[in-house]
Amino acid sequence: MALLEIRNLHAQIQGVEILKGIDLAIERGETHAIMGPNGSGKSTLAKVLAGDPSYEVTGGEVYFQDRNLLELAPEDRAREGVFLGFQYPVEIPGVSNTYFLKAALNAIRKYRGEQELDAMEFLQLIKERAKSVKLDEALLRRPVNDGFSGGEKKRNEIFQLAVLEPYLAILDETDSGLDIDALRTVADGVNSLRSEERGFLVITHYQRLLNYIIPDKVHVLLHGRIVKSGGKELAEELEESGYALFEEAAA
């Protein structure tokens, strides 16, 4: 069975249907990209998978490693191994990045019946991971995302991903607001975390991120439906012709 399998997923917010029947399967080790214009439902898909309570699932099924994902609370989805890199990472003043991540990692380990890490083991781990994603160690002591630049916030998301080691990482417009150098660093971080065990779902507006994170599959999302799927060349095609071509297909 696939790592993630989405079948005919419908979801709405405040009575407005955003997702109108999504079908998608991601295998372990695969990286999928979802592209689409503003308002097509990209971020909604990411948030529905994470369990954001402001969205209501009105139909369909989602299975993650054979578990019915939609039945799980958001924290249990995370503990099962679903990670969402937020488009707008949230600030938590007064809570250090280190403290936050330790609480997160140990909650996940506890859920899985693994031994919680003590302070020394944890510090060693985060120092190593910070290095691997080129995160300034000073950020570890700062409050979660508080006063971080846009680039630092995104890098911090990738750093958290590196520490929590999920089975599926959903990256919601991780490239937005990044200059080309920051984009590269983030992409390098992601690439270093790709493995046979892990799937990625990369959500983006632009093709440029996909020059650095080469996807196995690309899906075009329009008006809440996947209107076309293909290989990485689909992204290039989109870059040239825009979404207009698919608008007609969708209509």
Binding site: G51, V90, F100
Partner: protein, 482 residues
Amino acid sequence: MSATTKTLEELTNRKYEAGFITDIEQDTVPPGLDEDIIRFISEKKAEPEWMLEWRLKAYRNWLQMPVPQWANVYYPPIDFQAISYYSAPKRKEDMPQSLDEIDPKLKETYDRLGIPLHEQEMLAGVAVDAVFDSVSVATSYKAKLREKGIIFCSMSEAIQEHPELVRKYLGSVVPYTDNYYAGLNSAVFTDGSFVFIPKGVRCPMELSTYFRINAANTGQFERTLIIAEEGSHVSYLEGCTAPVRDENQLHAAVVELIALDDAQVKYSTVQNWYPGDEEGRGGVYNFVTKRGLCAGNNSKISWTQVETGSAITWKYPSCVLRGDNSVGEFYSVAVTRGRQQADTGTKMIHMGKNTRSTIVSKGISAGHGQQSYRGLVRITPKAENARNYSQCDSMLMSATCGAHTFPYIDVQNPTAQLEHEATTSKIGEEQILYCNQRGIATEDAVSLIVNGFCKEVFRTLPMEFAVEAQKLMEITLEDSVG
């Protein structure tokens, strides 16, 4: 024996025969307030004449004072004649000599509140002067303190043993004319703590008192006086909780701090009195006057408060910075939930040259809680180069709660520098989702976020108190997001 006293005694005895609300025997006067009641209290405590005179002056002045209406809190008028003004645990033959000897029932209550005295004593080396209702029933570490010349005792004892100090300083920071509730307190206060740190002495331990309201319908009028002589240091901890009662319980304490040249006083409070039921019925009215006087040059007074209880809180721990280079600090976390109302803040009165003050106020409102920060920073004409930094942050946890800010700034000297920062945030569903998405359960997320919000204040608390405060916060705000 005068006729009045006789009547009073009869009444007292009748009440006595009728039995008591707690199992600990109490000595309670019938409800009501007049000069005879004040004479009764004074006599009961075998006070000297000057003390009685002071009380009576305070009472006569109080009668002329209007009930303050300016606070942003709402409650039915208090019937001061319906309150009983004296209640003390019955002393059997002797006062307990050690904590092991204290009434097991009392100990049990403390234990239920999570404040085991003996553990406190052993773990933290804290000298405990426990106030049960109005009279001290347990004191410890006295010998150790006495070696250093430190006096730490109940106010009643201080009036007997150290009348010269009490006479000199009582009412010197908060005169009985100050405000309505301070006036009432001056007339009828029953007990409290007295601390005197002699010149050049650093108090070797945190001093702590656990206040607790027990008798139903008995006003609590604590009086605390802390004097730090030249170059001395003291840190005082006060923590309070109360059991469930139906009647509103008025608590009108007065705390006075005096710091002479180069002295430092740190006063920390964790207050968790009964806040009332879901409709706000039966909670404690906490109308307290706390003020510190930096009388000497280079002196420092620091207030830290964590206020989670009471139906209504009306409290402004303040600093009068009279000495040159003196420093005042106020760090506060206040939580209102259910139907709780709080109007709290501070006053920093700059009088000396180069005086500095810092205000950090964190307000958290949940449920239908209403909270106001009210603060005054006054720079008087002679206060050259005064500085103040104020920060008032409010966090809202529900759609039905409220946060209000009333900062008053009165600058009469052009060399002053003042900064004021204020923020209001809603504990985000986004913040919670973010934590959830990293595997952190919602209740842990709330505690994490709230403790982060309060961090600047908690870190000013002594270690063991900080841990307690964090725990208290977690318990208080369980299921509060919505």
